[in-house]
Amino acid sequence: MTNEITYNYTLHLADNALILAQRNSEWCGHGPVLEQDIAITNISLDLIGQARSLYQYAAELINGSGSPASEGKQAASEDTLAYLRDSREYKNCLLAEQPNGDWAQTILRQFFFSTYQFLLYQRLQQSPDATLAAIAEKSLKEVTYHVRWSSEWVIRLGDGTEESHDRLLNALDELWMFTGELFMPAGYELEAAKAGIGVDVSTLKTEWEQRVNEIFAEATIPTSGREGGWMQSGGKEGVHTEQLGFILAELQSMQRAYPGSEW
């Protein structure tokens, strides 16, 4: 039982990292300037690396569990988990799958997500599950750079020109309703938290808002007036926006067409 909770929880963390990485990687070769193209692609790479560690661990858990899910199927691996699951089986937050939009939207999505991941990994480092704790400890170093980079860009855009300011406000309109889900635990998250393995994400909300508001204040973006608005959720339970299907179609096309292909 604990194994299954840890499996679902680990998959959720992995899916978040992979889907956001896939989104960011769409910028490769299209960034506004070379240095920032390289930066966002580097962030993608870090997230793919984190996703790999998490998928490897999830595969280990499911293969060793002897549960019905593992019977009669090929052994799970990081590849089968990333390439052969359908959108309803993906457990990433809706925020991660939202389109890149313009640079402001990509930046704001990264800023929201990295700030969340930073707080989450800080706590997860203390997990009694040694593998999750080790992945969190390692990832935190990388996420620290992502937080810094994306925060600086939010300030630069918000406190920049009239146009960059407006674009950031538009991005905020697009993305804000997907931030609530980050702190609404899914069933497996609650169980993982109860078992002491995972983090109760609802406890991260206050600090997240505080950090976001600090940056918004510097970016001359209003820090109030968004309370009580509608928050969209469902991604963690496999109910996604229409965006995820398109992402998976691209991400998985090779393995779907040529199963098990390698190069």
Binding site: Q50, F118, A134, E137, K138, Y145
Partner: protein, 171 residues
Amino acid sequence: MNTTENISVQKIWSILEEVCDPEVPVLSVIDLGIIRDVKITRKDGEEEVEVVVTPTYSGCPAMDVIRMNIRMVLLQHDYKNVQITTVLSPAWTTDWMTESGKQKLKAYGIAPPNPKQQVCNTQLFAEDEAVQCPHCNSYNTRRISEFGSTACKALFQCNDCQEPFDYFKCY
């Protein structure tokens, strides 16, 4: 551990000096500080070598090549049973890079990492720790981008000699 095994372990450490980072070929895996342990065990009279490696960055593609090269070089020295184990914790830090590794980096044109406590935080627009230009040794340099040509590097430029250069950022 008896003395013979001690000597064999020592020998493997010295063989590993030959394995270089494919992205930064002046650095060996020993210089990088990513080899955490070397163990020799005997099973049914056969010798098995275990090399414990810790990755630099989670997504660094060089790690796969490094693992393969470790296997290759040990095979060339007639070690047929090689097990390469990856450990994540404690997480690798640039503080584990050897002093000679840092000097080799500099000679190669890459500024070596400063001690980690200087930048590993989320402080914004932080005045960069003084990164020394590997070409003219000036400390009057500026950061162009937090992220560079590989996951482990940032892009800098020297305000004195004007040369752009890579900085192996602290981790």
